[in-house]
């Protein structure tokens, strides 16, 4: 078999975040309307490989995904070895706005999954003017902890094994085996304590239940897409968010789980492409 290259390019961006120098890995493919993609907790931008390799998306969109600091090929900031990583709403918001500005993106579409779907709701509430549309995947206003998060980071439990095993059931039953295990592999590769630190935002700091109804979709259109088999952010939770936000559009994706863009990109695209078309029509 001859070698071939995917149309994805990756670069390392240096910028200051939260007053400290950071080295952030950014991937992109395609041309047109910027589509900034946010990965889930404990994973990285590879989750969007399916979109970046699909001409139906990249013909009209510049698809961009960055690995959050501490994730994927992005570095933790100098001094990390003395710290405990914990993601907050304020840091997450700042990071997205700063990186979008550094890339000179003109009112991108922002699409995030899980923690990315949650921060999408924060962005819709606090910074709607910065985006032309917001897409929340597996987006809920809050998730109660349902297992002891300390198991994600302790020396007598292998971090990679447990992170992969924790989320394995969140993949839908029809996902192709290759994509299912690629998705889990990303989890198995996370740094020690990083998935747990992201979940600080997801399960504690990022609770937006009290404010989610204030989102004004006249300022920025909001689309919510959730997989049927997600028991972390259930379809019911997404439907509740949609019901409380007039003008939001919601899709429950049959057979899909918590990682639609990564676990089954082809099935996900049948739901995403009509949304992108609608956004394109303005």
């Amino acid at each position: 078999m001859s070698a071939r290259f995917e149309p994805i390019t990756g670069r390392y961006m240096h910028l200051d975040l939260f007053g400290r120098p950071h080295r952030v890995y950014v991937e992109e493919a395609g041309e047109g309307t910027p589509l900034l993609c946010l990965h889930t907790a404990g994973s990285d931008g590879r989750q969007y490989r399916g979109l970046m390799n699909d001409a139906r998306v990249t013909a009209k969109h510049r698809v961009i995904a960055f690995d959050m600091p501490w994730h994927g090929k992005s570095s933790p900031p100098a001094g990390w070895h003395e710290e405990e990583y914990q993601l907050t709403s304020a840091q997450y918001t700042t990071m997205i706005l700063e990186i979008a500005a550094a890339l000179e993106l003109d009112r991108p579409i922002v699409m995030g999954c899980s923690i990315g779907g949650r921060i999408a709701l924060h962005l819709a509430l606090e910074h709607p003017e910065r985006f032309r549309a917001i897409i929340g995947l597996q987006a809920g206003a809050h998730v109660d902890p349902y297992y002891d998060l300390n198991f994600l980071h302790r020396p007598d439990v292998h971090g990679g094994e447990v992170c992969g095993a924790i989320v394995s059931g969140l993949v839908g039953p029809d996902a192709p085996e290759k994509e299912r295990w690629e998705t889990l592999w990303h989890y198995m590769q996370g740094g020690p304590g990083i998935f747990k630190g992201d979940l600080y935002f997801y399960k504690l700091d990022g609770d937006i239940r009290g404010r989610v109804a204030e989102i004004d979709t006249r300022r920025c259109p909001l689309f919510l897409l959730s997989g049927e088999y997600d028991y972390s952010c259930t379809p019911e939770e997404t439907l509740a968010v949609a019901k409380s936000i007039p003008g939001s559009e919601v899709t429950i994706m049959k057979g899909l789980g918590h990682f639609p863009m990564s676990e089954d990109p082809q099935a996900f695209l049948t739901h995403l492409l009509p949304v992108l078309e609608k956004i394109g029509r303005g």
């Binding site: 002891d148 439990v157 292998h158 447990v162 059931g169 039953p173 379809p235």
Partner: protein, 122 residues
């Protein structure tokens, strides 16, 4: 059906290999019925049904019979397709020394999913 766990797990070479550092006994409660499942280096050596006078185990997994029935169906519905889905809905209680369970979470998920109608995946 639960008695078949031994042959179903031991017949999966990869699963046994992934459990090679696992030696323990855990208790499985299916409604009113209890089972003690003994594992030695990833192989299930015995599956004994209760009632027991003084069952000794590292941890216990307890759920109503109808919940296990859904979990063990060929295509479990959303919310019943994974041990943690049951935990999330507060219908599966995991009790005891959960370090054993969590350090081998993939093993326990896959082992118990072996009781699904043949041909189904975890």
């Amino acid at each position: 059906m639960i008695e078949t766990l031994r042959e179903r797990v031991n017949g999966d070479e990869g699963l046994v290999r992934r459990g090679r550092y696992l030696t323990t006994t855990f208790l499985l409660e299916v409604g009113q019925t209890c089972w003690l499942i003994q594992i030695f280096e990833g192989r299930i050596v015995s599956v004994a049904s209760g009632p027991f006078v003084m069952p000794s185990s590292s941890f216990a997994l307890r759920a109503p019979e109808e919940e296990w029935k859904k979990f063990w169906s060929a295509r479990p519905p959303p919310g019943s397709n994974d041990l943690l889905a049951l935990v999330k809905r507060r219908v599966l209680k995991a009790e005891g020394n959960l370090q054993v369970f969590m350090s081998h979470l993939r093993y326990f998920k896959e082992a118990l999913a072996k009781l699904r109608a043949q041909g189904a995946t975890a």
